[in-house]
């Protein structure tokens, strides 16, 4: 991780701590939402941008995490930590099961398996009413934090979830800039070569998928606990598509890209929602297509190109391994 990344995170942390002093309840809630969805977009980033595997069913993990956390609280009367652990644990198991099948397959097949798994989970969410209550969803009382602070208190929940999200993002960045992250990108570029070099390709892909699924599950669990609500819409394929869109628009292969994409597009949706709610899915689809065709490497890739162009004037271009899109 470069110094710029550490500074970005530190800046983010300071911003989050200062924000309540200058902004109201709407901005606070939106900030938490942006951070949680950024984690979700980052899970696509890990999988697609860094390892080169696409998932069209990631809302399945988001929703399962959300339901795991919510059901822990409503059915088992568990605490906050248990609920979050359930979100991560359940999606870890699910991800390992899916990955065991999916990583045997390449490109198209892989993405199709994730699409089908996502759809099946959505069907289960809408069909298994006794457990999920389908579209109507389940509202529940939010648990306590360390037994003293109630998460129902907006300030407590704001600080808790935003700081947790930033720490998680920090950890994921750390992971992606570690040798493991470099290995993932090696698989993205050429997994045959990685295999010849003796790396356990299938197991590494499973690891990437599992980390990604757990991150999506954790973001889902956090979202459920933050809003005190969960419904089958958390599993919807539209959400899967949105996650892909956020990551692609921001730049799936960079560290900041998915966060940038999620923040920008969700903020845009909130601001424009009253005008555009009727055509929102059309907008999502168009943005996906346009950003794939014209925005290679996403917004982060575009910034990188500008920076490289400036640097190239002064000196020969440096190797930009961690950035750009998969080829």
């Amino acid at each position: 991780m470069t110094r710029a990344h550490k500074l970005t995170l530190l800046g983010g942390l300071v911003l989050v701590l200062l924000l309540p002093h200058v902004a109201g309840a709407f901005a606070r809630a939106l900030t938490v939402e942006l951070l949680i969805y950024s984690m979700f977009a980052l899970s696509i980033g890990i999988l697609y941008g860094h390892t080169g595997m696409m998932s069209f069913g990631h809302a399945g993990f988001f929703g399962v995490g959300a339901y795991a956390a919510a059901l822990m609280i409503t059915k088992l009367d568990a605490g906050l930590a248990t609920a979050l652990l359930a979100a991560v644990g359940s999606t870890a198991i699910l991800a390992i099961l899916v990955a065991a099948v999916a990583v045997q397959l390449k490109g198209h097949y892989f993405a199709l398996i994730t699409l089908i798994v996502g759809l099946v989970l959505y069907y289960l969410g809408t069909g298994w009413r006794s457990l999920t209550n389908a579209e109507d969803g389940i509202s529940f009382a939010r648990p306590e934090l360390f037994g003293t602070y109630a998460l129902g208190d907006p300030m407590v929940s704001y600080y808790f979830f935003s700081i947790l999200a930033i720490l998680v993002i920090f950890f994921v960045w750390f992971l992606l800039t570690s040798p493991l992250g470099r290995l993932f990108r090696g698989l993205r570029e050429n997994d045959d070569r990685a295999r010849y070099l003796g790396y356990p390709v299938a197991r590494l892909k499973m690891l990437s998928f599992t980390i990604s699924g757990m991150l999506a599950g954790l973001s889902g669990g956090m979202y459920a606990l933050f809003s005190g609500y969960v419904s089958s819409e958390f599993l919807s394929w539209i959400l899967s598509g949105e996650a892909v869109m956020w990551a692609m628009v921001g730049g799936a292969g960079s560290l900041i890209g998915p966060i940038l994409g999620a923040s920008l597009l969700i903020w845009g949706r909130e601001v424009l929602s009253s005008y555009l709610i009727d055509i929102y899915p059309i907008l999502v689809g168009s943005i996906m297509i346009v950003s794939v065709i014209f925005l290679r490497g996403g917004l982060a890739g575009a910034f990188q190109q500008i920076r490289d162009a400036c640097a190239a004037r002064r000196a020969p271009a440096p190797d930009a391994a961690a950035n750009g899109e998969p080829t």
Binding site: I116, I289, T327
Partner: protein, 293 residues
């Protein structure tokens, strides 16, 4: 009684499998020849069904509207496919195929929601063009379902003849095998590719027209069936023409038999698990047989 019900379930499954195979063939055709998976394929099917429903409403004649739809819907859907091809596939043709998954996924969002804005969220039902009931095993069964399966089977046969016995079919094979050599021999490769995409889309449109009188026409009806189509295509291996028909048949029968014992939802989930196990068991064969037989 139980056995009789089972027989009807299986009959239903076999009849419906032809429509499913038609839809899956559109997918597999586009993949086998162009290396593109059209995620929006199910939505093209829904558009075909919606056109059929609309024409029956507009002409006030179930037969006339249906026959008209059989002609109009494939053309209209092929045109949509052509536009979609130029907007979402052509610009990224030179890049890895995975990008086409994202653009056609985006296309699905656009088309499906456009359809929602046009026909609304409520389910619509189109009248059957043939209302005759024929007695089988002491029950009655709608003749239309046999006609539906027959039309689907005839189109699948025609597709095979077209691909293997016509000059244009040979061009398609040539472009698939080696595009640059084919171009050098004077085959209009760009046109061939666009035609394959249109053809695959048209198949989805016809499947939609055939399904409209049997199912409820909904803007999101493509989502339900595209999952089945993907499962069939994955299990059969991409580009395998007759394998696709057989797998569609087996898959439908398994689901029908399961649905006798458990809920349709559970049957669907079980069928998916079965396919996953199947894929795991013969993953090598699956990756080897990727071209049209």
């Amino acid at each position: 009684m139980g056995l009789e019900a089972l027989a009807f379930q299986i009959l239903n499954a076999v009849v419906w499998a032809w429509v499913l195979a038609l839809l899956a063939l559109g997918l597999t055709l586009i993949f086998g020849y162009l290396d593109i998976i059209n995620v929006a394929h199910g939505t093209l099917y829904a558009i075909g069904a919606a056109i059929s429903w609309w024409l029956v409403q507009a002409t006030q004649s179930p037969q006339g509207g249906f026959l008209l739809a059989l002609l109009v819907a494939p053309l209209a859907v092929a045109l949509i496919g052509l536009a979609a091809y130029h907007l979402t596939i052509r610009p990224i043709m030179a890049r890895p195929p995975i990008y086409s998954l994202v653009t056609t996924f985006g296309l699905m969002f656009i088309l499906q929601h456009a359809l929602f804005l046009i026909i609304g969220g409520a389910p619509r039902s189109a009248e059957m063009p043939i209302s005759t009931l024929i007695p089988i095993l002491g029950r009655t069964y709608p003749l239309y379902r046999f006609v539906m399966a027959g039309v689907a089977a005839a189109i699948i046969l025609a597709l095979w003849v077209f691909l293997h016995r016509s000059t244009y079919g040979t061009w398609i094979q040539a472009v698939q095998q080696n595009r640059s050599v084919a171009t050098a021999m004077g085959i209009p490769a760009r046109q061939v590719v666009a035609v394959v995409f249109c053809l695959g889309s048209a198949l989805a449109g016809i499947a939609g027209v055939l399904a409209a009188p049997v199912l409820q026409v909904r803007y999101d009806m493509g989502i339900d069936i595209i999952m089945d189509a993907f499962i069939v295509v994955i299990a059969a291996g991409f580009g395998n023409l007759f394998g696709t028909v057989i797998v569609a048949m087996v898959y439908q029968i398994i689901q029908a038999v399961l649905a006798m014992m458990i809920t349709p939802l559970q049957a669907k989930v079980l069928a998916l698990l079965a396919v996953l196990v199947w894929v795991l068991m013969r993953r090598k064969g699956l990756l080897e047989r990727e071209r049209l037989a």
